[in-house]
């Protein structure tokens, strides 16, 4: 909040300085402009509208727009809009036996990017369905070939092929992130991603794997590596991103997530023991035997516990995952800088994101998937509204690098593998 306060006075001072200079030097020009330029006499608000106020700031409100202080990103999409997009997508995919899939992906991405606004301007996703279709059709053909491999009659050929695919993945994820970054524009400047094969293999696959194999001890290290690798290889036009968070902060997040999971698992274990006691106390006193287990299974409550405990553990996993993701995201975004002095801030609350993840899942299952679009919009809106940017000088000075986006094949491989890495 302190940032916001001091930033505002700073801005006012700049405005004043600028207007003083302008007053003296350009007064005559303004008068002559008024005579020649019909724009000046236009009514404010949009010319072609039916009189409704526009969704985002119009010409008049632009002057008050906050510069050099933190403001939250806006998300202007609604669940109903996404519902229409997603269900038309599904129906078209079913009607076209899957061929519509690339176009469906484009419309979905366009919805989310386009409605994410900084200073009133949404992001534009520039790739077309046809661009994605090229990569998608290659990957689909490869997959069909993969499933037909047993026909050749060579033992373990499919397994060997899967291993080969693992080696392809870092390449694919690189290409995918580059393709999607180069097709994402704000105003008329596109993003770019310049990760390398070994960089992606190490930070996005091997390091997280080592983190898991170390029983989580190295996981915060892996989280930092992964998030910062993505950040420092991103670019906005010619401007680079950077982000160096402190390792201690990541370990703090890991520790809190660990405490939360210990607490929740302890709770479930305690309740389970209580329930077993309720069935027959004598079973707990002795070491558990096969007969004892069979007895518990025969009981209605016992059988319910057997089914319920894995579900609860899965929900805890989801809850703690959401909590940890929120904390590490905050650390990373708070450390993120864009060349030119643009800063970012994330105010996502761990319990908040965890609650959204779990309640979304439960509601989607209960409604047979009907609420999936609503749930996705809900989570996305929460994330954008809790992400803030401190723009610099109305963000006017960035330049595009004019590079080709390349092919979409990596994107298709990433989608087929269910991989999604973003920051």
């Amino acid at each position: 909040m302190q940032f916001a306060g001091s930033g505002r006075t700073e801005t006012r001072a700049i405005h004043q300085r600028e207007s003083n200079g302008r007053d003296q030097g350009k007064a005559w020009k303004r008068v002559s402009e008024k005579l020649q330029n019909p724009f000046v006499t236009l009514p404010s608000g949009a010319g072609g509208t039916d009189g409704k106020t526009p969704r985002h700031g119009s010409a008049s409100s632009r002057k008050d727009r906050p510069v050099n202080r933190f403001t939250a990103l806006e998300f202007s999409g609604t669940a109903r809009e996404f519902f229409g997009i997603q269900f038309v997508n599904i129906l078209l995919i079913l009607l076209t036996v899957g061929i519509w899939t690339p176009w469906a992906r484009v419309r979905k991405r366009r919805f989310f990017h386009n409605n994410t606004r900084i200073l009133g301007d949404g992001f534009d996703y520039l790739a077309t369905g046809l661009d994605l279709f090229k990569g998608w059709s290659v990957v689909t053909l490869i997959l069909i070939g993969f499933y037909a491999l047993p026909v050749l009659g060579v033992p373990f050929l499919q397994e060997g092929f899967s291993l080969a695919l693992v080696a392809v993945y870092p390449w694919a994820i690189n290409r995918s992130m580059r393709f999607n970054a180069r097709n994402l524009a704000w105003r008329d400047v596109r993003f770019d991603f310049s990760g390398s094969y070994f960089g992606s293999a190490w930070y996005l696959f091997l390091l997280p794997l080592i983190g898991l194999l170390s029983l989580g001890i190295l996981l915060p290290l892996a989280s930092r590596g992964m998030r910062e690798y993505v950040a420092r290889n991103y670019r906005f036009g010619t401007a680079r991103f950077s982000g160096k968070g402190q390792l201690a902060h990541y370990y703090g997040a890991g520790l809190r997530a660990l405490l939360l999971s210990v607490l929740l698992i302890g709770l479930v274990a305690g309740l389970t023991i209580l329930a077993v006691f309720a069935i027959d106390g004598s079973l707990v006193a002795d070491p558990p035997t096969i007969d004892g287990l069979a007895y518990i299974l025969g009981d209605g409550i016992g059988a319910a516990i057997i089914y319920l405990v894995p579900v609860l553990l899965f929900l805890i996993f989801l809850l703690v995952g959401g909590y940890y993701r929120a904390l590490t995201r905050n650390i990373m975004v708070n450390a993120l800088r864009l060349q030119g002095g643009v800063r970012f801030r994330s105010r996502v609350s761990g319990p908040g994101l965890a609650w959204i993840a779990v309640s979304n899942l439960v509601l989607c299952v209960v409604t047979l998937g009907l609420l999936v679009p609503w749930a996705q919009v809900r989570q996305y809106r929460y994330l954008t509204r809790n992400t803030e940017i401190r723009p610099v000088a109305d963000m006017q000075g960035f330049l595009d690098r004019q590079i080709q986006a390349g092919s979409s094949i990596g994107d298709a491989v990433g989608e087929a593998g269910g991989l999604e890495i973003s920051f």
């Binding site: 724009f39 072609g48 919805f111 409605n115 996705q376």
Partner: protein
């Protein structure tokens, strides 16, 4: 007709207010005129590229000057559409389709649930249809491959005495005589697998694998024959192949409906598909049990052998391996015994 929006200069983030105007008839008819807040006068332009609106987003027009004009989402831009280059029209049409009111939401929900129910009902017939499309030679080759891989990973050569194997092969011959002619070439493979326990299984083609452990555990030739008849039932009904094809249908359907979404939703939907599949697998088991009972009767052998085997297994593990849950591929022994005795 005027459209006010924001103009971004080509390749930059520099922004000015601008207006696009459809020229009056006097000015030369159907052309567009651009007026910028930072420049005097106005220039005629054309629209080079359109990124159509998608639910609530702005309309993005790339003009012939190279600059980008964004028009706010809630502006009625339909009159501009005749200036769009050809391919953008499909996008506008889709946008109209997607822009639904609450009644539209309701209609789409009903359509979605109907599609879901349709897919649920289509799994079995579609999978069975696909299974019929696959040529026998391919199935046989895949079946041989599965056995070769199992041999490499799990199974060992049988350690049963030659005499036992010969006797069981003789019994198996009698089952082959009962089978429809297309399945008369079904082969019996003897294997040893301590890691698996007393079991036998049918492969997608005309192959049945009998584990030594089952022969020693049952210690009863009628039981072994009843189990072989059960597996023969799977072969004759092509259960393994049909199950594979049905799960392929589920995988394809899940990929199509939620493939473009996050992986966790895909997992959940896949789980729902598995529930359906395992229900169908349990139905297959009961069908094979039925074939076994029928053939045992026709051979004049003990029709009570299979139920006897199930109760023995049930006792052996004191109810712990009874199975029969929602996710189990086999019904519980209790249900199978009940189905056989009725």
């Amino acid at each position: 007709m005027q459209f006010q929006g924001r103009l971004t200069k080509a390749g930059t983030t520099a922004l000015v207010e601008a207006t696009l105007r459809v020229a009056d008839a006097g000015e030369g008819g159907a052309t567009l005129i651009l007026t910028r807040a930072d420049m005097a006068g106005s220039t005629p332009v054309t629209i080079a590229h359109v990124l159509p609106k998608v639910g609530g987003g702005d309309l993005r027009l790339r003009l012939s000057t190279g600059d980008v004009l964004r028009l706010p989402a809630d502006m009625d831009t339909a009159p501009l559409e005749r200036f769009f280059p050809e391919p953008a029209r499909l996008g506008s049409w889709l946008t109209r389709l997607e822009t639904v009111g609450w009644r539209g939401v309701l209609l789409l929900s009903v359509l979605f649930l109907l599609a879901l129910a349709g897919l649920r009902l289509a799994i079995a017939p579609a999978g069975d249809f696909l299974a019929r499309l696959i040529p026998d030679t391919l199935v046989e080759r895949a079946s041989g491959l599965v056995l070769a891989q199992l041999d490499l990973a799990l199974l060992e050569d049988s350690r049963l005495p030659d005499e036992t194997r010969q006797r069981l092969t003789g019994e198996f011959e009698r089952l082959r005589l009962l089978a429809p002619p297309a399945f008369a070439d079904t082969r019996l493979h003897f294997r040893h697998a301590p890691a698996i326990g007393p079991n036998a299984f049918a492969l997608p083609g005309h192959d049945i694998v009998l584990l030594d452990e089952l022969v020693t555990f049952a210690n009863d030739e009628d039981v072994v024959l009843a189990v072989l008849a059960h597996e023969f039932g799977h072969v004759v009904e092509q259960h393994a192949l049909r199950q594979i094809m049905r799960s392929a249908v589920v995988a394809i359907a899940v990929g199509m409906i939620v493939g473009a979404d996050e992986s966790i939703i895909e997992e959940i939907v896949g789980f729902g598909g598995n529930l359906v599949l395992s229900g169908q697998s349990r139905a297959f088991e009961l069908e094979a049990d039925h074939v076994s009972a029928d053939w045992m009767q026709r051979l004049g052998r003990d029709a009570g052998a299979l139920p006897r085997f199930f109760s023995k297994l049930q006792q052996e593990c004191r109810g712990l391996c009874d199975g029969g849950g929602l996710l189990a591929t086999h019904p519980s022994f209790r249900d199978r015994i009940e189905a056989l005795t009725n």
